[in-house]
């Protein structure tokens, strides 16, 4: 569904990602893991058009999409849940959700999706008229995901959904992501919480210093010595 080939992106002189290639097949959950500064967020921003790559190609559903503007990509069916949630604090939960459907004008469809979000995220239904800024971190993350889903994406991109959340909330979020995937939305997730991400991922890529150094199914990577050592706190067996 999403094919990235040899993409490099830089901030001025500094190359943040170098010649990255990865695939997100339809209906799957793909995880991109790595430490701070590995280039995970840069990769996400490049896919969603917030950054323009220096070289390489990105194809979405067979159509070349690198260089397109973010709003054109949302229209094409890509939705990003940005790092740090980016809730509009001065707008109510309902208004936040409506903003997610900004590009749509099928009123009936929007209302239907609104109902769907209410049933998926009951907590949002209770707080519909509350300001986004008054929600807790976990609730804001739910709202951010729901807002992204309001654009009816084919591919949902999540940038560190577990950031700054309590472990119990994190597992809730990951359960939700799995449910969304089961309903037919393809997911690309970027995470530092390697264990959780690989558990739900069909396939994973490991990013280090702007390059992909490893890839494999979620299970393979979880069992991989190098991953264990670097990210899962496992000791090297001498």
């Amino acid at each position: 569904m999403l094919e990235i080939r040899d993409v490099s992106t830089s901030y001025g002189q500094i190359k943040a990602i170098r010649s990255i290639s990865l695939d997100v097949p339809q209906g799957k959950i793909v995880a991109l893991i790595g430490a701070n500064g590995a280039g995970k967020t840069t990769t996400m921003k490049t896919i969603t058009g917030l950054l323009v790559p220096d070289s390489g190609t990105i194809h979405f559903e067979g159509r070349r999409v690198d260089g397109l503007k973010p709003h054109q990509l949302v229209k094409a069916g890509l939705a990003l849940v940005p790092e740090g949630r980016a809730i509009l604090g001065q707008m109510t939960v309902q208004e936040n959700l409506e903003m997610g459907a900004f590009q749509r004008n099928d009123t009936a469809g929007i209302r239907e999706d609104m109902e769907k979000m209410m049933s998926w995220f009951p907590i949002l239904k209770e707080r519909l008229n509350q300001l986004g800024g008054t929600l807790s971190g976990g609730q804001q993350q739910m709202l951010a995901i729901a807002r992204a889903l309001m654009s009816r994406p084919k591919l949902l991109l999540l940038d560190e959904p577990s950031m700054g959340l309590a472990p119990i909330v994190v597992s809730d979020i990951f359960k939700t992501i799995q449910e969304i995937n089961r309903e037919g939305t393809t997911v690309l997730i970027v995470e530092q919480n390697v264990k959780q991400a690989l558990k739900i991922a069909d396939y994973g890529y490991v990013l280090e210093a702007g390059q992909i150094v490893l890839s494999g199914t979620g299970q393979e990577l979880l069992a991989n010595e190098r991953v264990k050592e670097a990210y899962l706190g496992g000791r090297k067996v001498q």
Partner: protein, 319 residues
């Protein structure tokens, strides 16, 4: 009657005019853009409208509208390269634009250089001429011709101000208003939600410029004289202060700012030479105690909250 003293009427007229200017800076700020080009756009509107009425005998209304429109077109041309800039860089670029416009007007023949354009027919005179056609004169209301003209000018401005304010409030509740709010709150989030951010920023910039241009035309036909120096750096600061002192979160902020900053110098007139000291002190105090301006979203939230509670209580009692 003291209220109908032409001097007092003129002060009130300027409060209303500055109110429209305040709305113009508010709309640009509503997308988080700090533009210092408003005096430039104002001068474009002023010169276009003045040249049209004076040299080409274009009816006042059309001249005013054309002045705003041309300011808008220039904003489109200027905005294309500059709106990619953020924060202070945009401020510097637009400030530069304003100065360039001023220097151009200073050196053009049609604008009469530093002497400016004088002897414009005032809004009051134009309206009075119309009124005379209907057979009414100042005497019909027990007012002198001068008073009558001032009253007519004020009524005309109030009408325009009401219209602009009404449209702005409608805009705020519309899809466009929501987009502005989202862009101001978080540009990246707005992009991620699929908002064509560049388009909306340009739209806000142009609306602000059209309003400023329109105000320029009005200004020229109230004072009947304009020179390039009427629209210099100080004018920009003055317009921006409306939003800084009043607050820029909701439209009532800059409006209140315009009201305060236009009345204050008149009220402080009794202090004579200490006037500017007091003026400065008040500005400093406002910034120290209300850094986001005198009126913010919280000001009204509190008011509405009280009202909502009252309504809830009444509903309970009714049951």
């Amino acid at each position: 009657m003291d209220l109908f003293n032409p001097y007092n009427l003129q002060v009130i007229t300027f409060i209303v005019l500055n109110g429209i200017l305040a709305i113009s800076i508010y709309i640009t700020l509503a997308t988080g853009q700090l533009s210092l080009g408003h005096a430039g756009f104002m001068s474009i509107g002023a010169y276009v409208a003045s040249i049209l009425t004076k040299q080409a005998d274009v009816p006042l209304i059309f001249a005013l509208l054309l002045g705003g429109l041309i300011a808008g077109v220039i904003a489109l041309l200027i905005g294309a390269p500059t709106l990619k800039l953020h924060g202070l860089y945009l401020a510097i670029a637009t400030l530069g634009f304003g100065e360039v416009v001023r220097v151009i007007f200073l050196n053009m023949e049609i604008t009469n250089g530093a002497l400016g354009i004088t002897g414009l027919k005032s809004i009051g005179s134009t309206l009075y001429d119309w009124l005379k056609v209907t057979g009414l004169t100042g005497d019909s209301f027990g007012l002198s011709v001068l008073q009558m003209k001032a009253v007519l000018t004020l009524l005309f401005l109030l009408l325009l101000f009401g219209l602009v304010l009404f449209l702005t409030l409608r805009l705020h509740r519309s899809r466009i208003g929501r987009a502005f709010e989202a862009i101001k709150a978080d540009e990246t989030a707005a992009k991620a939600m699929g908002l064509p951010v560049a388009y909306y920023k340009m739209l806000a910039f142009i609306i602000g410029a059209v309003l400023a241009g329109f105000c320029g035309g009005l200004f020229a036909h109230i004072t009947t004289t304009i020179t390039p120096d009427d629209f210099n750096y100080h004018k920009v600061v003055e317009i921006l202060s409306f939003a800084v002192i009043g607050g820029s979160e909701i439209v009532w902020g800059p409006l209140f700012g315009a009201f305060i900053l236009t009345t204050l110098p008149e009220v402080l007139r009794v202090l004579a030479e200490y006037k500017m000291i007091m003026y400065g002190a008040i500005m400093v105090l406002v910034m120290a105690f209300r850094p986001h301006g005198l009126i913010g979203t919280d000001t009204f939230a509190k008011l509405f909250d009280r009202r909502r509670k009252q309504a809830a209580r009444q509903a309970e009692e009714g049951m």
